[in-house]
Symmetry: C2
Subunit: 283 residues, 2 copies
């Protein structure tokens, strides 16, 4: 029997709970999130719009700072420096990708670690690595919440993560390792990938290739988490996993859409609230 | 045919090269390393003594700051703050373990990241995680040097690291991942460990249990790296690998002693020199 993990329903519930917490909280200022959006990338516009809507629904004060694609690196850095000391904003997010003339790493490193709600600053990644996370990249954090919601045990389990990005694959591996799973990080240079993936009790796929994972990659009874968001030839949103073929084999699987996606934005909101509480306590 | 990786010989050569570099360099002050040694732990005394001797041989100005076991956390933190701004020392190392009344994490986080020659500060671990390391924990760094010296390829290879410490196992995994290996991190809660280890092209063992790895754990032709330093019932230094039993199976293997050990101290000296150069350039 396959259980389809309902990321949308869990995200809705967590967002409602968060809304209530914020409404009942005695914070002096409402949690605030500023999103810096540079240029006119269409996908980025959509992502940012979704963040704005979620924040509004939940009671998080949000601002989108729209900046021209031609903005200099220096000007963008100055902008971040301003927000770093602005008490109205507890979270700062720079929507990626940035225009090519701007050094992404330099920009991300300029965000004050305590306002880094995306969890991309090296100091926050270092704390995650040490097993003492403060800010966690939102996608793997959301996946952990889903696994917990469905009581999927990690201790002693074999987890294979396909994809080694700094924002999904690598932090995902650290999170499951901290929960005593045995973890393998695989990627485009991995040999015999299907054979390896088939050893996984829990398979997390973040490779960005539509329907790449077919039944040859999946052990019967495995848990499959699909981080992919791809458009197929008809413009339809599909995951990295061939859901129709793979789902019947699995014990649990996330669909696309309504799987990992809604959880990512939810964790961003939760981290913004947590950051606001920490910053208020520190004052 | 088995090749025994001669860590001692490589370490000697690298130390000689470093000595020459330092002698010919035009640094305004010699590279300086301060080691803070708290209390009377016998093993720590030996380790620190070895570091002092290596530094002296190479031409690194070193100081051992011996502090009483009863020192307060606050006093130790103040000491570190002083060294953070002392231009005579480019590297600061706090010998672990610390007495129980002192929070190790707090102490390590207090070391200025640019002087953190052990590579244990979360900011340095975060940079390593991002694939842009500045300071690297010395043991895995030394292992990478050995693999390179013996032209052992990593790309596409399956590496299994047994042990998930913050200073060996976890950074080791990041380093081989950055070189395009497929990496698995295993540990005490891993099930079917022998079976898993036997899939490794390169097996790195850091579990701290003498002669634990027997031939059941090793694929014929594998490369085996032994990080263990244990005393057997006769007080003899032994690794985590049963060398006599395992060596004939392997293509390359590190012995204990004269394997990984001498490389660790060498990388510490190299990083101190690199830190000195960076700090002088930044002034």
């Amino acid at each position: 029997m396959t259980t389809i993990i309902d990321g949308k329903r869990l995200a809705d519930r967590l967002q409602n709970e968060l809304k209530e917490q914020i409404a009942n909280d005695s914070l002096r200022t409402p949690p605030g999130l500023v999103v810096l959006l540079v240029g006119e990338n269409a996908a980025s516009q959509t992502y940012v719009r979704n963040k704005e809507l979620a924040a509004k629904r939940i009671g998080i004060h949000s601002k989108v700072d729209r900046l021209p694609a031609a903005i200099s690196e220096k000007a963008l850095l100055e902008r971040i420096t301003q927000y770093n000391v602005d008490p109205a904003f507890h979270g700062i997010l720079v929507q990626l990708p940035l225009p090519k003339h701007i050094d992404e790493e330099k920009i991300l490193n300029a965000i004050s670690p305590e306002k880094d709600v995306d969890g991309f600053h090296p100091l926050n990644l270092g704390k995650l690595f040490l097993g003492k996370p403060e800010m966690i990249p939102c996608t793997p954090y959301g996946i952990m919440k889903m696994l917990d919601e469905y009581h999927i045990q990690l201790e002693g389990k074999k987890v294979v993560v396909i994809g080694r990005s700094n924002i999904v694959g690598k932090p995902m591996a650290q999170l499951v390792l901290a929960r005593h799973a045995t973890v393998t990080i695989a990627h485009s240079r991995t040999k015999h990938l299907a054979e390896l993936a088939k050893t996984a009790d829990i398979l997390v796929v973040a490779i960005g290739r539509g329907k790449f994972i077919t039944k040859e990659y999946v052990k019967p009874g495995a848990v499959v988490i699909d981080v992919g968001m791809n458009r197929d030839e008809n413009g339809k949103l599909v995951g990295d996993v061939d859901f129709e073929e793979v789902a019947p084999l699995t014990s649990y699987i996330t669909p696309v859409p309504k799987g990992v996606g809604p959880m990512t934005i939810t964790m961003l909101m939760i981290q913004t609230y947590e950051a606001a509480k920490r910053q208020e306590n520190a004052r």
